[in-house]
């Protein structure tokens, strides 16, 4: 039972990430490798505010979303000009800068969480408190599962409302023909700022839940491998609708669990899992470029 709840928490976290990345990949047509960076920003902001400033769950979460949304400018301003391969490289640069920041902003002499040793470098921050707000204290597995599920549902609802609104239509047409849309007098740049802020903010929500559930965060949460995994989810599941990213998160989280049942020795399991992700990417591009349940093919 605990195992299933654990899976449910991970599924909620990664569904939120996949839905946020769907906004960028599916609705802007841009491949971003920086999503793990924003995920980690959410985790770190949540961890630092709860540990050092004694914030509750909701204020810390709000601040995490705010900071990530602000930092999303690092992606959305370049998105005004770049697309295709160039944008992939820009997002990679942002990703590397985030990782270097989390990895290097440390000073062994100082206490973790102070200005000179903000992230404690490779050792990460430990002892992050479990979420609690009002009278509700999510310190058991079922309560965290419920909380993460509720947050994932809220994010899903938000995505659904936003993306089926005229604003969602604006994004889709911007992806398909930006020049025509500008000719019609739409503010394409503003739309890009908005969509990146929302998507990165959502990734930060997922990061905050992750930090509060695991209780520990280190720079590997912002690694390139994590970004690639997140991108795999939306590409395998499909983009440009609501169910694609959910299917992707479900499939990519089910594969390792199936491997566990297939009695593959533990020392090989991680490699085999990643290998299957790679195979899935190649097969998808050959036989179903829009993903399992998606509607849009990457240009």
């Amino acid at each position: 039972m605990n195992y299933l709840l654990h899976l449910l928490i991970y599924l909620s976290i990664y569904s939120i990430v996949a839905m946020s990345l769907n906004m960028i990949v599916g609705y802007c047509g841009l491949l971003s490798l920086a999503q793990a960076g924003y995920f980690a920003v959410g985790s770190y902001v949540y961890a630092l505010t709860t540990l050092k400033l004694g914030f509750g769950f909701l204020p810390a979460l709000t601040l995490a979303v705010g900071v990530a949304a602000l930092l999303s400018l690092a992606l959305s301003l370049p998105a005004w000009r770049f697309k295709g391969d160039s944008f992939v490289m820009v997002s990679l640069a942002v990703q590397t800068l985030f990782f270097s920041m989390f990895f290097n902003w440390s000073n062994p002499g100082a206490e973790p969480g102070t200005v000179t040793n903000l992230t404690n470098g490779p050792f990460g921050l430990a002892g992050i408190p479990k979420p609690s707000f009002f009278q509700f204290k999510a310190d058991s597995l079922p309560s965290i599962a419920i909380l993460s599920l509720v947050l994932a549902t809220l994010c899903g609802l938000l995505c659904w409302r936003l993306l089926s609104s005229p604003w969602g239509r604006l994004l889709k047409s911007m992806r398909d023909d930006e020049l025509a849309l500008r000719g019609l007098g739409k503010n394409v740049r503003l739309a890009k700022l908005q969509v990146f802020a929302i998507a990165c903010g959502m990734a930060a929500i997922a990061g905050a839940i992750y930090a509060s559930y695991v209780g520990y965060i280190n720079p590997s949460a912002a690694s390139l491998d994590q970004s690639i995994l997140m991108l795999c989810m939306v590409l395998v599941g499909g983009v440009s609708n609501l169910k694609g990213p959910l299917v992707g998160a479900l499939v990519l989280l089910t594969i390792p669990e199936l491997l566990r049942f297939a009695q593959i020795p533990d020392e090989f399991a991680a490699n085999v899992r990643l290998m299957l992700y790679g195979v899935a990417l190649v097969l998808m591009m050959h036989f179903r470029p829009q993903g399992i349940a998606g509607e849009y093919r990457i240009q």
Partner: protein, 289 residues
Amino acid sequence: MQILCNGIISGFTIGLLALAFNAVYLPTRVFHLALGGVFAVVPFIAWQLLLWKQSWPAAIFVAVAAGVLLSLACEAFNHARLERTGSSSGAHLISSLGIYIVMVQAIALMWGNENKVLRAGVDSVVKVEQITLTHAQLLAGVISLSVLLAFYILLRFTNIGLRLRALADNPSQLALHGYNTRHLRFFAFSIAGLLASVSSLLVAYDIGFDPHGGLIALLLAIVAVIIGGRASWLGPVLGGIVLGLIRSEVAWFLSARWQDAATYALLALFLFVRPRGILGRNLRLEAQS
């Protein structure tokens, strides 16, 4: 002077890999990320052969041949098929990423995740006036310089080099003139495999290797391509040298931990200020896509 020299030599190996990437990217527009997998796998093959008591030349020859074949296999089983079905460049990039992941995980399964070295013991040093170089560095400098020269001679003075440049310029025009562009694409991929294998072996001989270094090295090379100029054949090498210099300066004055941050900050700077790179030409808007 010492830092300058170290920087230039590491710049040559970056430039070699950057040129390998561009040898595919310019003629075929394929974002050949699987080259990172080739880069990772080649030293392991050489290492295994040396373990089996094969001679150095045999090990190097087989490893480089394997690198070329792997790169060719990427074209034969993946990109050629995607090209026939008219897939987008995004599909090429993503499937190439998939192949890279498969290759790296296969290496990790076969040989484990640890760091390995090709040579045993401490390297001997050569002193020229105030500069101290290790033998591995000297070897890297000389070999990469001669391979680069050979490649440019091939590109500039031979028939197939001319065709390769033509393919980079305008593939459909070349095909209309009756040249087999599919064969030329295979040639481009094999050249890329060759250059990447050489660069990989040189780096592995100098500082060792592990399964996950491939993508990092390749991304560095792609940064060099962008800095140097994507539309140019000389650009990647120039970009590689610039990167090598800057990285060694950063390592000297700040810390090796900031090398990557400095590299990507430089990339961002170039993308904003001069997106066509140092040697890039300004193309007309229609030709830029």
